[in-house]
Symmetry: C2
Subunit: 252 residues, 2 copies
DNA sequence: TTCGATTTGTTCGTATGTATT
DNA sequence: TAATACATACGAACAAATCGA
C-alpha cells in the first residue's frame, strides 16, 4: 500500500462529476466568475468539459446545496453573494427570545493593524508575527447593543484594508470581503461557551459585571476550506438567543 | 388570481419526485419500515410507484441528505438509526476545548410523571394539564459531569414509559425512543444562552455559584416536523465547548 | 402583447461500473 | 460465480421561467 500507483488510483477513482466540481470550484477560487455573476450555462459547460449535461448538473447540485452557487430557472446559475437578505441569516444566528429575526445595525468601534501574537497562534493557528488587522465591531438589535465582534484577518489576503473602507461599507462584512477583496466566505465553524466578559466588553454590551455572556470563537472559510477570518464574539443573551437549527431546508 | 383553480394547480404542481418522497416519509412515519431495516430496492419502488428509477433516486436523495435514510452500495437503503457512532455526534455537539470528541457516559438522576405546567406551555407550546414524563439525566465526559439534561416528553407517544426502562437502556436516549417506542428523532432545533444555573444544578456540574453555564433549550422532531421531546440543558463550559459547524459534509 | 430563443427543472430510458451476498 | 443493489454517465424529450425582439 501507499505506492505511487495507489495514489494515482485514488485520484483517478474520483467520479467524473467530482472532477468537474473541482474544476468549477478552482475557477471560483481564481475569481474567474465573480459573486453575483452568472457562470456559463449547463450546455456550455458540458461542451467545454466534454461531459454530458447530467454530469454538469450533478456537479453543480452539491455547490448549490453548499450555498456556493444559486440556480434560477430560465436565467442561469449565479455565484452566491452576501448581499441577499436570505443568505445573511445563514451566518447570523442571533434571534430574539420571542423568536423574532431582525436585521442588525453595525457600528465600527476600533481598527488597527499589528502582528499576530501567541493567542492567535494557539487559538487559530496563525503564524506568530505575521501581519493582521484587528477590527472591533458592534451589532445592535432594536437599538440595543447585543453582539460585540473582535475580528482578526490576515492582511495578505486583504491588501490595503483600512478603517475607512470598513466604516463606509454598504452591507455586511462578508459582503465587503466579497465585493472588495474577492474573498467569498462559504462556511463557518463556531465554538460556544458561557463566560464573564472582560469589563470593557461588559460595559459596551450593557451587562453588569455579575452577568455572563455567550462567547463564540468563529473561523470563516472560503473555497476549499481555506480559513480567511478569525473572530471572537460576545453576545448579551438577556433578550436574545443563539439559534442552532439542524436544519431548516428540505422536505421532511 | 387566487382562484380555487390556482390552489389546485399548486397542489398538482408538485413534481413527481416530491410526491414519491412524501409517500416514503408517510410510510416511515407509519412504521411501515423500521429503523435499521432496509426499505424496498429502488427498482421495486419504481415498479410500485410506477415511476422511473431516476425519480426514485431523486426522491431518496433528499432523505439521505437529511439523515433519514442511509444508502449502502450493493446492500440497500436503510432507515437511519441512533445506534451508529457517527450519527451520534450529529445530535451531540459538546467537544473538548482541545477539540477532542468523546463518548459521554450517561447517569439517570431523576424520573417522574406529572402534568404539563405553565412553563411547558409558554416554552414549548404543550397543552397545559396534559401528561408528561420528566427525566433528569447527567452526561459525564472523562469521568467529570459536563451536561445536565432536564427532559420532558408527552406520554401519549411513549406508552408505559417508566424509570427502569430508562435506567436499563443500552445506548442513547434517542436510541431508546427509536427501538422501544418507534419514535425516530430526525431533527433538532436548539436555542443557546449564557446564564447562572440554579444552585442545585450548579452543584451537580461542579460549578461555583459565580460561574456561568451554557443553557440550551432543545426541541426534537420526528418525521414531518412533529415535535416529540423538549429538553433544557446546562453545560459546564470550563473544559468543553458547543460546536456549531455549518457544515462538515460535501466537497467545497 | 406575442413570439422565439435561451436556460434551468423534471422525467424517462439505457448502459455500465462497483460493492455485497 | 451469479444475482442483486446502489453509483455513475449519457442522452432525449418536454415543461416552466426569463428575456428581448
Amino acid at each position: 500500500m501507499d505506492t505511487p500507483a495507489r495514489i494515482t488510483d485514488n485520484l483517478a477513482a474520483a467520479p467524473l462529476y467530482r472532477e468537474v466540481q473541482w474544476k468549477i470550484t478552482r475557477a471560483l477560487a481564481a475569481g474567474e466568475w465573480k459573486p453575483g455573476e452568472a457562470i456559463p450555462s449547463e450546455s456550455q459547460l458540458a461542451r467545454q468539459f466534454k461531459v454530458s449535461i447530467g454530469t454538469i448538473r450533478r456537479a453543480i447540485d452539491e455547490l448549490v446545496a453548499g450555498r456556493i452557487l444559486v440556480r434560477q430557472q430560465g436565467r442561469g446559475t449565479f455565484v452566491a453573494t452576501h448581499t441577499e437578505d436570505r443568505t445573511l441569516f445563514y451566518f447570523f444566528h442571533v434571534v430574539g427570545k420571542d423568536g423574532s429575526r431582525e436585521f442588525p445595525v453595525s457600528e465600527l468601534l476600533g481598527f488597527r493593524k499589528e502582528r499576530a501574537d501567541a493567542d492567535d497562534e494557539t487559538q487559530f493557528g496563525l503564524v506568530r508575527g505575521s501581519r493582521v488587522a484587528r477590527v472591533r465591531n458592534l451589532l445592535k438589535l432594536a437599538g440595543k447593543p447585543v453582539v460585540l465582534d473582535d475580528i482578526t484577518v490576515p492582511t495578505e489576503r486583504f491588501s490595503r484594508l483600512d478603517e475607512s473602507t470598513f466604516r463606509n461599507r454598504e452591507g455586511t462584512i462578508y459582503g465587503l470581503y466579497q465585493a472588495r477583496y474577492g474573498v467569498n466566505v462559504v462556511r463557518i465553524s463556531e465554538r460556544l461557551s458561557a463566560a464573564h466578559p472582560p469589563a470593557d466588553i461588559a460595559a459596551i454590551l450593557g451587562l453588569r459585571i455579575d452577568q455572563p455572556a455567550l462567547q463564540i470563537r468563529r473561523v470563516a472559510y472560503t473555497y476549499n476550506d481555506t480559513p480567511v477570518e478569525y473572530r471572537r464574539s460576545w453576545i448579551n443573551t438577556s433578550d436574545h438567543e443563539y439559534l442552532s437549527d439542524l436544519w431548516k431546508s428540505a422536505a421532511r
